[in-house]
Symmetry: C2
Subunit: 200 residues, 2 copies
């Protein structure tokens, strides 16, 4: 890049380009957009990123990210303490919370087992999960893992791990997504939806 872009702007572009979903070209567009919208966007973003860098921590109990530790979900007394929802990543926790799917506590594994990516059991937050699931207050562990090969492998591994405890282990239902059209669904989903049909 020639001298036309000063080092300060260049640095901003380079950092933005490392965000998922932004390449070099869209990072340039984003940087220019930020600079043009100084009052509405650039200054507020500077503040928001600074606050996040200073204050956001990972919850030592469940692996969620928040500005307090334990996180606000782990602190929330109104949540059902008898259910632990195991998710791969914080983004999955967010997705379940957006859906308002369940009012329980979570446990973020921080990944799934993967021979290809070299993710082994010791890379995941399994010891903490075992300790939490051993709490007599916990009656059920819901494995809310992705319905991918790695996700399901991990689900089986975690099920084996929890077998010695008196806790009930469940997993998400497979079936037709709400709003989904049968014609566009794969055979595996359709078979599962038939097998696990419910009375109308």
């Amino acid at each position: 890049m020639p001298a036309a872009i000063g080092p300060e702007i260049e640095r901003l572009i380079q950092l933005l380009a490392r965000l998922p979903g932004l390449g070099p070209r869209s990072a340039r567009r984003a940087a220019l957009h930020l600079i043009k919208k100084r009052e509405q966007l650039l200054s507020p973003l500077a503040e928001a990123v600074r606050v996040a860098a200073e204050r956001v921590v990972t919850c030592s109990a469940c692996g969620n990210v928040d500005t307090c530790d334990p996180c606000s979900i782990c602190r929330d007394d109104r949540r059902d303490a008898s259910i632990l929802v195991v998710v791969e990543d914080v983004s999955d926790l967010w997705a379940l919370e957006r859906a308002g799917a369940i009012n329980a506590r979570y446990h973020v594994l921080g990944g799934v087992l993967s021979a290809l990516d070299g993710v082994r059991p010791q890379d995941l937050s399994l010891d903490k999960l075992l300790a939490r699931a051993a709490d007599p207050a916990v009656k059920e562990v819901i494995l809310a893992l992705n319905a991918t090969v790695d996700g399901q492998t991990t689900a089986h591994y975690v099920t084996d791990l929890l077998a010695s405890l008196s806790v009930k282990v469940t997993r998400l239902a497979h079936g037709v997504p709400v709003g989904g059209e049968l014609d566009y669904l794969d055979e595996g989903t359709l078979s599962a939806a038939i097998r696990q049909r419910t009375t109308f």
Copy 2:
């Protein structure tokens, strides 16, 4: 959004979602990525955005963005002061600089005339352009505007505006893009490439 995402993270997501190229979902992914890569990405980005917010200004002469005013291009004595390259936006200036296409000065219009978008001549940096082009040192104004209807309308408007001056007004060549395949080009480009053919 329920309380699962704290207000600090929520604010970061909302601001990131306002960047071009990022929607709500990718903004969440980006925010989570930032939080996970605190040392490598979040803290440096906080610093880069802060520096940009504090120091980047718009050049009062040409409309470029830089940390000094006049910008480093306007200050650069090694640039050909006899040529002004008129562009719609700073991103176009950056594109020409990346290409190393010309070692001259620029003038950023800040948009193009558009009846649909309600952009009128007084919304563009035309007075400044007229004043700069009236400088006896300036011999040529290159209209490096997009080959769109609005871009070409603006080019004609600017040409009329500069007609009273003794400055030469040129525009970018139309033709086959380098690396382009004829079969994929539109008729307008092919006709222009034939009309403006050069000796081999």
